[in-house]
Symmetry: none
Subunit: 205 residues, 4 copies
């Protein structure tokens, strides 16, 4: 019973944090507000999290985990490596659009906003790369994908996707450009980069 309750507060805090993040943005994401949301003293958050960053890290971690799970699933449901890459890309996009704030938070790690992200957590974050990496390897083995260095390729794949979504979410996209078209075009470009290129392929779009 007490265990339940203990877990509860931590979960409640995380939930409230997500809620605040969603409604107010990171800029206005404060421990006080979170505490207020669940009628708990701000100090109580420190019973479950070392500090604000730690709480944000947890949010990040969970978001990453959710994303990874989604990716894992769509990969398992697609047949060919190329289809898998496409599925990965589109799932990534879907996630970024649906959970914008959380997506953005994931990428806060980078900026000095969130320096202290603990090393151990990076491993979990890296799982996404592995998924991509495996698909690329699978494609390379099957002669469909031209990659001698699947790990590095996973990173470039990932990086390119992130760049695309970053532009989309930052609303820096020219208003004359249709968002979905942009995404489609970009993904096509990115994936094309990994296909074995032959004369036959260049025209098969």
């Amino acid at each position: 019973m007490s265990k339940t309750k203990e877990l509860n507060l931590k979960e409640q805090i995380i939930d409230a944090a997500r809620r605040v993040l969603l409604s107010e943005g990171y800029r206005n994401f404060s421990l006080r507000k979170i505490a207020g949301e669940i009628d708990v003293s701000a100090t109580s958050i420190y019973l479950h999290f070392e500090n604000k960053d730690d709480l944000v890290h947890t949010l990040m971690e969970q978001a990453i985990e959710r994303l990874n799970n989604q990716l894992q699933q769509v990969v398992s449901e697609a047949d060919s490596p190329i289809a898998k890459l496409e599925a990965l890309a589109y799932e990534y996009v879907r996630f970024a659009l649906k959970y914008q704030r959380e997506y953005q938070i994931i990428h806060l790690t980078s900026s000095d906003e969130m320096t202290r992200y603990p090393k151990e957590k990076f491993r979990k974050a890296r799982k996404g790369y592995e998924i991509v990496s495996n698909v690329l390897q699978e494609g390379a083995d099957g002669g469909l994908i031209a990659e001698e260095k699947p790990r590095m390729a996973a990173y470039t794949f990932w990086a390119q996707l992130h760049g695309v979504m970053s532009v989309v979410l930052s609303k820096r996209l020219d208003t004359r450009i249709n968002r979905q078209e942009f995404i489609d075009e970009a993904i096509e470009h990115i994936i094309d980069g990994y296909k074995i290129r032959t004369a036959l392929q260049t025209n098969n779009k």
Copy 2:
């Protein structure tokens, strides 16, 4: 002498701001610190900038401008459209690595950290896209680049580059991967995506 001094404080503030940003990161970027740096009252900053965001915007603007100038120059120095794209990509990378904090600040716009970025300033920011866009158009005209939509392609180009540098700067790159190799590989990928693909080309790597 008088004119000089008048103009000075604003410039001094910007300089100090850049310095603080560089040494302390955005997380610890405070008006007080900036004011302290140049032995000026914090209030004085408000005589030249509406608020903290306004100052940051100015920093962004200047960084963008500098970047754009650099891009413009390298473009003008390269011959072929492909060479120009490459030059653009490498100059972008160079800038991002050299002025990391400023590069990061430019991309703060996106996150809600910096919502209030004024519309008018976006235009200047968009100049980079135009530069790329023009090169792509030029290449398309010359039959070297396969783009019917140079504007959109400019955005995908840009986005992908940003993604790459974002991964690099966030230090999320797997330690087993060499940074420069990663960058080279990624740029090659990205640019390849815009080349006219023929059987001859696929093997010329």
Copy 3:
């Protein structure tokens, strides 16, 4: 012509000051606001007034002068000393009610809000006492008013009136008490205190 303009600015400032005082109260009475009112730099006020207090003093002085003139006039229009006292009291009340902010400002001198009121200006302020004092003397000479010390009596008269208006203007009057009735009653009391008292009364203390 230049003289005219010079005088103008000073007058304009005073006018604007009065306006601001009226509309915003002393609490929000700021040099900036005054300057803004007449589209002049705040610094310009210092060309005509030593500082904020000096400007306020000027306002006070003018208000006092206006009050004194009014008092002088009503005194000259009344016949008997008693009638004169009454006229003085009612004119004083009328002024306090009509120019509340200015009336209040006159009495700011006292509180440490306005310590530095210059000695020379006190003399002008004292003219009001003289007027009362003269009336009392006149009444004493005529056997109507019991005062051996008209100067002191003038001060008590004045003080009592001020107290009454102070209560009225501070809105501290019980809501069940009618304002005008209170004023009438108080004035009656005050003036009664100066009338010749018979032997019967004077000894019952």
Copy 4:
């Protein structure tokens, strides 16, 4: 010990506030100074008081309460209604002279300096009037004092006293007039006004 300390800061702030008020006057009464006095962060004051006004209100309230207590006591110690009125008047004077700053603060309510004085607190302030009012009623019942409207009379009594002290404390009293004599004279005048007047006098208006 714990309770003591908890209650302490608020009290300490009030004490420091009173000290600052005393030594520097309302003009220089700043939260920062108060905080400095007791080596406490200025922010801490906001944990106990809504804002500066709230703190001042508290000072006022306590001063009023202290005054009322004094008045209550001297009234209970005097015999006849007339003696009580005199005791009240002299105690009032004593208080005003001894606690000048606090006395002045009490009367800050009026000026727009201190607009936001909360309604509930007025009730406490009104207790002084009740004390006077009761004495007047008692005197009226005993045929010594001529008052059909003791409540209003209490206000006029009060107002007159305040006026007198206001003149005294503002140092506007003519230097040729002895302060104590002035006070004595004024009080005599004021109290005389409430004594039963004979037919001869009452009709000579």
